[in-house]
């Protein structure tokens, strides 16, 4: 599916560009995107190092273990395939908490660490597991209590009440999350039934 999607975006861009006479813009965008990806990766590299370092300290002292054990009844409901004492739980919890607090920078490293733990439990390494898909559903729904970026945009545009969107945003994204988790659980159950 991803092969197709990737190709369709590229092909549509090139063909439309040829028809509309915007091929120069296409060339420029392609070259710029490659540079942008490297810049983004370097920026992310620093954050990954920072948070994976902090996480390692927390793991070695047993702090992560305690957090994971405390929250495992709750998180276990969403991730029935993950053993109760697995360190993946704490990484998932920290990923979700960072998202809630609007700390997207910290959420990604914890999320990627959670993925690598889930991959350890994966028996066929090139296929996504149900637990991985649940983790992604948690992340793509983007549940957050503080949409920092949007508030600053609204402030810059001279809004009378820049933060008035906090409640509605939390509500809308929670509805999206509940929907995603329900759909995920339904598909998972259906596939297991086969």
């Amino acid at each position: 599916m991803l092969n197709w999607l990737w190709f369709v975006l590229l092909a549509a861009g090139v063909l439309y560009g040829a028809a509309a006479g915007s091929l120069e813009a296409v060339t420029e965008a392609a070259l710029n995107a490659s540079g942008d990806a490297v810049r983004l990766a370097i920026e992310m590299c620093g954050l990954l190092c920072l948070w994976l370092g902090v996480l390692r300290v927390a793991e070695s002292s047993g702090l992560v273990d305690r957090l994971g054990r405390a929250l495992s009844p709750l998180v276990g409901l969403l991730f029935p395939d993950v053993p109760k004492t697995h360190p993946a739980f704490s990484a998932i919890v920290m990923n979700f908490s960072a998202n809630l607090l609007g700390l997207g920078n910290a959420a990604t490293p914890f999320g990627l660490k959670a993925m690598s733990y889930l991959q350890e439990l994966n028996r066929s390494k090139e296929d996504a597991t149900p637990a991985m898909i649940t983790l992604l559903a948690l992340n793509t729904s983007g549940v957050t209590f503080i949409p920092t970026l949007v508030i600053s945009l609204r402030m810059a545009a001279g809004s009378k009440d820049p933060a008035c969107i906090i409640g509605p945003t939390a509500l809308a994204s929670s509805l999206g999350l509940v929907f995603a988790l329900t759909l995920d659980a339904l598909i998972r159950r259906r596939q297991r039934g086969r």
């Binding site: 965008a29 070695s60 002292s61 990604t108 793509t140 729904s141 949007v150 945003t169």
Partner: protein, 176 residues
Amino acid sequence: MRALSAYAIPLLLLVIPLYGLAKKQPVYEQFVAGAAEGIAMTVQILPYLLAMLLSVAVFRASGAFTAVAKVLAPLTETLGVPTEVLPLALMRPLSGSGALALSADVINEAGPDSFPGLLASVMQGSTDTTFYILAVYFGSVGVKRYRYALPVGLSADLMSFIASYAVCRFFFSGGL
């Protein structure tokens, strides 16, 4: 809530090493060992990131994206949804920076406290960039077959947009 957000990171940076020291752990060495993992992870992610940004950038720059949005515009009009937010809804799962630019447009053009401006704000904040997350998360562990992850992510985005509209109608224009 925002205070919590401001204190969260400094607090973590204090409490986690402190707890480690109390347990007689070599915290500095552990931090460095953990941080080293970040470099390998970056190298692993980069090609996926590049492939994703490349295809979205080509699609946008050619004008194909605007054309698709124009074709779909009558659909939102008949539903009574402000047409300004349609490009944003289409861009949101594809590109974080692209969507942010479009939200900024709507917020500035229509005004931050107008209905389209509020709706764009809520839409921007209530979902995340699905394609980017899928590419980076799966790429980091080398998973190639995503199974049903994409349909779940995209239908959640759609649901969030519908919810954003309903919630904005309810909060900002006095009822559904």
